[in-house]
Amino acid sequence: MSEWVEACAADDVEEEDVIRFDHAGRTFAIYRSPDDEYFATDGLCTHEKVHLADGLVMDDIIECPKHNGRFNYKTGAAKGAPVCVNLRTYPVKLEAGMVMIQLD
């Protein structure tokens, strides 16, 4: 059954940036896009399980800090070697200044 979980305050994430959010033994990445929208994906790169929150957000792209693999964090799409497997994304909403993500 899915549930909405409070991930962080909206202000915790700078514009065009990402932070890490750990919950119930899992790790996620919470993004704030340049046009001030919020997104969430699994926190670890699908290539070698590195935390994407240490990476770089550029427009729609999160670049992994280890081998510079790139994903579209809005869709989870892997954008080419060395990342070949898509990232899982999660629905996000803002509530009373908090970023909520929907987990199953």
Binding site: H47, E48, L56, K66, N68, R70, K79, P82, C84
Partner: protein, 369 residues
């Protein structure tokens, strides 16, 4: 300056195959895909250093292309007289050496902000390097995951005990014609080795084969043109520069890891930063800041000097010149001929966080004698 110390790691012979005993051991002991040491840099500062822009790389690439074309035109113009020699000297280094750093930086996707620009330069530079662009993207990813981990890293330039003849020959580019070119022909025929398959995922095998076919097609066309023209000139311009222009790439690149520790998870122990003259740094695109690059591969080449200033308190002192670095390395590799566990352990400044000795199991000086 750094101190020389000795360590005895395992006492057993190193097996550099990527599917052998060392591979198994690296996986079992947790050396493979391990967590590596990083100097603390505040996120805000790192974000700023990681920022991409097209400007510096476009400027450098336009200059690069202009110099390549200019020296090629000069070499063709004076072909048949000794005046062509200086043009070939410049052309050779640009073709066979500077393309290595372009291949490298664009492979990381850090040279340009715009993806297609990185990809275009990456493809051209891979060809100049006689490297299969698909295969080498994956081998380099492995090099970053498992830097100088024996049995895992596909890009260890000087293995232990060192093969000095091979190292010397690499300055001539001859080894490319002994290994890289036949490798491309083999791949073009549809055959990948088990080692290649160990780091290229299956879904990319066909891409690697197709890329090899393109490279081979260009070499065959060049050879055909040379026969048709009854002239070596086409071969001097395509493929041939590997023989006479690779020396600078090897001169700078060998220093990255040679003589330092293996099987450790701290780039300060297995990687070297060397101060270089501005021309070499331009050819090498600042890869002389190699510890910095390995710790933070997201930082573009033009920001590495700034990163270096920021974290040098936590790193061994850089070698002040290539000459200094080679002088330091030479006795170490000579000693490794007889005692392959011997290596150079570089001292950290008092401001640095210490090495994790217990994990790296480094110091048993008596065992070295």
């Amino acid at each position: 300056m750094s101190a020389v110390e000795v360590g005895n790691k395992t006492g057993s012979k190193r097996d550099y195959s990527l599917v052998g005993e060392s591979t198994k051991r690296a996986v079992e002991t947790g050396l493979a895909s391990a967590e590596w040491y990083h100097t603390d840099v505040p996120r805000k500062v790192m974000k700023e250093l990681m920022q991409r822009s097209d400007g510096p790389a476009i400027r450098d690439t336009l200059l690069w292309i202009a110099l390549i074309l200019g020296s090629a035109v000069g070499a063709i113009w004076f072909w048949g007289s000794w005046w062509c020699v200086p043009f070939f000297v410049v052309y050779g280094v640009l073709y066979a050496s500077s393309s290595d750093s372009r291949w490298h930086e664009c492979g990381h996707g850090t040279a340009f902000r715009t993806r297609w620009m990185n990809d275009a330069v990456y493809q051209i530079a891979s060809f100049m390097q006689m490297r299969n662009p698909v295969q080498w993207r994956w081998s380099h990813a492995r090099h970053h995951t498992d830097t100088i981990i024996v049995g895992r890293d596909a890009e260890i330039a000087v293995m232990r005990p060192p093969d000095l003849l091979r190292a010397l020959l690499s300055f001539t580019g001859l080894l490319d014609f002994r290994y890289s070119l036949p490798g491309l022909f083999r791949q073009a025929a549809g055959r990948l080795t088990d080692e290649e398959k160990s780091y290229i995922p299956e879904m990319e095998w066909l891409k690697a084969i197709v890329a090899a076919r393109w490279h081979v097609a260009i070499y065959v066309a060049t050879a055909g043109l040379a026969i048709y023209m009854r002239s070596f000139l086409p071969l001097m311009l395509i493929g041939g520069p590997r023989l006479y222009g690779t020396w600078h790439m090897v001169l700078t690149g060998l220093l990255q890891h040679i003589g330092l520790a293996d099987n450790v998870t701290d780039h300060r122990l297995n990687t070297r930063t060397v101060y270089m003259n501005p021309i070499s740094r331009w050819i090498y695109w600042n890869m002389n800041y190699h510890v910095e690059h390995h710790m933070f591969p997201m930082v573009p080449y033009h920001a590495l000097p700034r990163l270096h200033e920021l974290i040098k308190h936590d790193l061994p002192a850089p070698n002040p010149s290539m000459w200094h670095a080679y002088k330091e390395v030479w006795p170490v590799v000579l000693r490794q001929l007889r005692y392959e566990d011997y290596y150079l352990k570089r001292e950290l400044p008092p401001t640095a966080r210490p090495y994790k000795e217990e994990f790296h199991n480094l110091i048993i000086p008596a065992a070295a004698e």
